[in-house]
């Protein structure tokens, strides 16, 4: 990046420079990629064993993992999307963002410690611990891979569109850049590189958002009251209270459950608990992550309202009906185009980090669950396993690029909701029941996972989100926007009934001896 280019920063004018190549953002983005690729190079030298590739040698501290978890979870969609939702719809955006936070305490109370103590690399390790390996591994990897695939499509399409809007770069080029760079992280640096990419991204995103809020609040003499008064004056007091977001309470509960319990069933989040040395560090990392994510949603709330008050709803809606550009317009308004460039490149880095985490967890599901425990029946040398994991990474990288290109211009907004619904319905019930219920059986687990996955998929197609919004039909066949209320409840019920109908003595016996490992950490992976 030459100095000459850096000097061409255009002054903040009345019209936005969004969509033109911003030299600051290009410079910062290249710096980010250079630093993270250097870290990948450094991590590659330390990535030889399976535990290093999948779990960073279990050497990440509780605090570092907390930041990395936050980095994995705070997507560009939540940064730009939630700030935008607040900027357009006011308080309703906060209701939505709260749903993404309340799952974290449940991860703490229900899964983090048993997961760390019982498992090795994937959450299927825990489900399969005392059940029959093959059927469980096949079913859980289907649940994992479906969650990852839909999440990945939403991220890749989001990346392409966002970068096109921000930098004026072609959609296709953006998708290729994201796909290739993140594949490099995972392929060469495994979990060590992925963890550090997440940490750097989390620090960049949190500090960028903090500076943005400070710059905006400076215009209100740092008084939140003055900000809210300005919103009230321009748009009325109703903006500061719940509006039309919840019209049907069942709809709200169903989406709420998907977000809350789906968080505790996201494979790339669950996998991170294997990177810390023990259960104590696992619990600390949830506390740290919850704090940072909560803080982040408070920031997006202020960013949204500041954008509404300072930039104006109309100017935001002109660029994007959903308000996705609100945070960026606010950045330009308060800090000029140089700061806009900074925030834009942070958003880009955010996407890269999230897709890297997804790809790594997908690759471990393919290599550890499917290859080792299904194809090789549990006996495989470490070298062979890592080789398969690396091939799976390349395959997923190509797949991510392919899916990004195929779904260009499609309405993929429902896919995040679908990913959460599958995570809440296919992954979470089986994981929870395997941890707490002695009578849980192989058949119960498989049927529960299959029920949760299929119902999520079928019902979302019949729901207003796809049947009406995507296919353009007048009326939906299934009334709820998110199917989790039905699909998750069914997954629990099917799992319980199937287990009660055919008890599995072996599994129940092993449950007792497994307790030593679950609660005391005796024999846990070091």
């Amino acid at each position: 990046m030459s100095l000459n280019l850096l000097l061409q920063v255009s002054p903040a004018g009345t019209t936005s420079t969004l969509g033109t190549a911003n030299p600051v953002s290009i410079a910062i983005f290249f710096l980010f990629v250079a630093v993270t690729l250097y870290i990948t190079y450094w991590a590659a030298k330390k990535t030889k064993t399976g535990s290093e590739f999948y779990a960073a040698g279990r050497n990440i501290s509780g605090f570092q993992n907390g930041l990395a978890l936050a980095g994995d979870y705070m997507s560009a969609a939540s940064f730009l999307g939630i700030a935008g939702m607040v900027a357009i719809r006011g308080y309703d955006g906060l209701i939505y963002s709260i749903g993404f936070l309340v799952g974290w305490p449940l991860i703490m109370f229900l899964v983090a410690e048993p997961l760390r103590n019982l498992g090795k690399y994937t959450f299927a390790d825990v489900v399969a611990y005392r059940l029959r390996q093959r059927p469980i591994r096949i079913a859980s990897s289907v649940g994992s891979l479906m969650t990852i695939a839909f999440y990945l499509i939403a991220q890749m399409v989001g990346a392409g569109t966002l970068i096109q809007t921000l930098f004026g770069l072609d959609y296709e080029i953006a998708v290729f850049v994201v796909g290739i760079v993140m594949t490099c992280y995972v392929l060469f640096g495994g979990m060590i590189a992925t963890t550090w990419v997440q940490i750097i991204k989390a620090v960049l995103l949190l500090s960028g958002a903090t500076i943005l809020v400070l710059l905006a609040m400076a215009q209100f003499n740092f008084s939140p009251g003055a900000l809210f008064d300005s919103v009230k004056e321009q748009y009325g007091a109703d903006m500061l209270a719940p509006g039309g977001y919840i019209t049907n309470p069942l709809d709200a509960i169903s989406l709420g459950l998907a977000l809350m319990l789906g968080t505790a069933g996201l494979p790339h989040i669950l996998m991170r608990f294997y990177t810390v040395p023990d259960d104590k560090a696992a619990r600390k990392s949830v506390f740290v992550a919850t704090g940072f994510i909560g803080y982040f949603y408070i920031l997006t709330f202020f960013i949204g309202f500041s954008a509404m008050a300072l930039v104006g709803k109309d100017s935001i809606e002109v660029l994007d009906k959903g308000g996705n550009m609100a945070a960026l317009l606010l950045a330009e308004h308060t800090g000029g185009s140089a700061f806009l460039g900074f925030i834009a490149s942070v958003a880009f880095a955010t996407i890269l980090a999230v897709v890297a985490g997804l790809t790594l967890s997908g690759a471990s599901s393919i290599s550890h669950d499917l290859y080792v425990h299904v194809v090789k029946k549990g006996v495989s040398d470490e070298k062979g396993e890592i080789k398969v994991a690396k091939r799976a990474t390349i395959f997923l990288g190509v797949l991510a690029i392919g899916l990004g290109l195929i779904f260009k211009g499609q309405n993929v907004a429902f896919m995040v909701g679908l990913a959460f619904s599958i995570a809440a319905s296919a992954n979470f019930p089986a994981l929870l029941m395997s941890i707490i219920w002695k009578g849980f059986t192989t058949r119960g687990a498989v049927l529960s996972i299959v029920t949760g996955a299929i119902l999520s998929l079928v019902l979302i197609v019949l729901s207003p989100t796809v049947w009406v919004d995507v296919f353009g039909n007048a009326e939906a066949i299934f009334p709820l926007k998110n199917p989790a209320l039905v699909s998750m409840t069914s997954a629990f019920v099917v799992g319980i009934i199937a287990s009660l109908l055919g008890p599995e003595k072996d599994a129940a016996d092993k449950f007792e001896s497994e307790k030593l490992r679950t609660y005391l950490g005796v024999g846990s992976e070091k």
Binding site: F109, K232, S513
Partner: protein
């Protein structure tokens, strides 16, 4: 570890109490969290006007409650960590002494 030793620990009162306490706390906190969040959604659905009540000069109840839930979610994980670090870990240490 020998099978008898394992069984001894599994059957011991201390271990049973440990497991029972762990799930009593975890499940109580889980239901509390579910209650707070679902309760909030229900208030939003049925009692919108209550949330519009002004608090102080510029704030209203909705903002206080929303921010409060974010803070609560974080604090409750903190309480759990405090409990686990001080009580759970101590009990585990005590039981492991016998190993």
């Amino acid at each position: 570890m020998s099978k008898t030793k394992t069984n001894e620990i599994l059957q011991s009162a201390a271990f049973k109490k440990l497991v029972k306490n762990r799930w009593s706390i975890s499940l109580a906190f889980t239901f509390l969290m579910l209650f707070v969040y679902i309760g909030f959604l229900m208030v939003v659905a049925y009692q919108k006007d209550t949330l519009k009540m002004p608090v102080g000069e510029s704030l209203n109840l909705a903002i206080i409650v929303g921010m409060g839930i974010i803070l609560f979610s974080w604090l409750i994980t903190g309480v759990y960590v405090y409990w686990a670090n001080n009580y759970y870990d101590a009990a585990v240490k005590e039981i492991k002494k016998d190993l």
